[in-house]
């Protein structure tokens, strides 16, 4: 019985109406545009922001990255297997190139 339920759940995920309404997508796009504007303001006020400049900019970038990934690309609503396929590549890339840059003393400069 549980097997049947599990199969139906997977089936439901796959064919579920993909996430948000059109208005929801428009709201997310506006939010992303606002974040982009804030990023640009950050780049012009880096002297005033001081040490908060770089972490702030990277956090805003990460928010935009995952908003598109989770909502526009539907990863939030789709099967976890799709997420796994993508995150394996992403983690490999970040890990591999972080080591590459560290080896070449990038983070010390």
């Amino acid at each position: 019985m549980s097997t049947v339920t599990e199969q139906h759940d997977t089936h439901g995920d796959e064919h579920a109406d993909h996430g948000l309404t059109d208005l929801g997508y428009i709201k997310i796009a506006i939010f992303l545009a606002v974040i982009t504007a804030v990023e640009v303001v950050f780049s012009y006020t880096q002297d005033q922001l001081g040490a908060a400049f770089l972490p702030g900019l990277l956090i805003l970038m990460a928010v935009k990255f995952f908003m598109v990934l989770l909502y526009f690309m539907h990863l939030k609503f789709d099967s976890k297997l799709f997420s796994l396929m993508f995150y394996i590549g992403l983690v490999l890339a970040v890990g591999c190139y972080a080591v590459f840059l560290a080896t070449l003393h990038f983070f010390q400069s």
Binding site: T3, T10, H18, L54, G89, L92, F106
Partner: protein, 204 residues
């Protein structure tokens, strides 16, 4: 077992190819492809980060970047992601007319972005920043050029899809086909989100 058979039959009705997990093979393959693309762009971004300081005094990022112009280009590409998701949404509702309209608008916004990139490259070249001028310029042109090629391929794919929908020549599940094209397009946008911040906004 019987459930699986019924399950598979239902999927066949939709015209797609589904694995024993009940998931679309095409979609799984697209996500694997996008995962592998992370490695390609990761390498290009890392190389740029490493070489961004290797330039002559008057032809570095701080001298040539036009942040307001690039910000406008980024906004255009971001909005193309919105129109793409609206195309997918229309395809899910079986609304072919709006699907074609939104796909065409997406391609148009993509073309505007590529035109902006061509303008930017031309301006940089006239200022003396050629491909082999410095390690900075080589890594910059390679990274943004690869991204531009991805956008251009996406535009060709979108226009082909519009033509195929018009002539009713889409093989298999039309909704899924539009969604797969959408995944590729959004990925191109996601890569630009990284490039915009790491290359343009963070000073060398």
């Amino acid at each position: 077992m019987a459930d699986t058979a019924v399950h598979a039959d239902e999927h066949v009705d939709h015209g797609g190819h589904y694995s024993s997990t009940g998931l679309s093979n095409n979609k799984l393959a697209m996500w694997m492809f996008l995962g592998s693309e992370c490695l390609l762009f990761g390498g290009l971004i890392s190389t740029y980060m490493l070489y961004r300081g290797r330039h002559s005094e008057n032809l570095g990022p701080d001298q040539v970047w036009d942040i307001p112009f690039t910000s406008a280009s980024s906004f255009v590409l971001l909005m193309s992601s919105l129109t793409m998701v609206l195309a997918v949404s229309s395809a899910v509702r079986d609304d072919d007319r709006n699907t074609k309209v939104w796909l065409s608008v997406t391609a148009l916004l993509g073309a505007l972005f590529v035109a902006g990139q061509v303008y930017e490259f031309t301006t940089f070249y006239r200022e003396g920043l050629g491909f082999t001028t410095s390690l900075f310029s080589s890594s910059f042109y390679t990274l943004t050029g690869f991204h531009g090629v991805h956008v251009s391929v996406g535009i060709i794919m979108l226009m082909s899809l519009v033509g195929m929908i018009s002539k009713n020549k889409v093989v298999g599940d039309k909704k899924e086909t539009v969604e797969l094209f959408g995944l590729y397009w959004h990925f191109v946008d996601v890569v630009w989100i990284l490039i915009f911040t790491l290359v343009y906004l963070i000073p060398a």
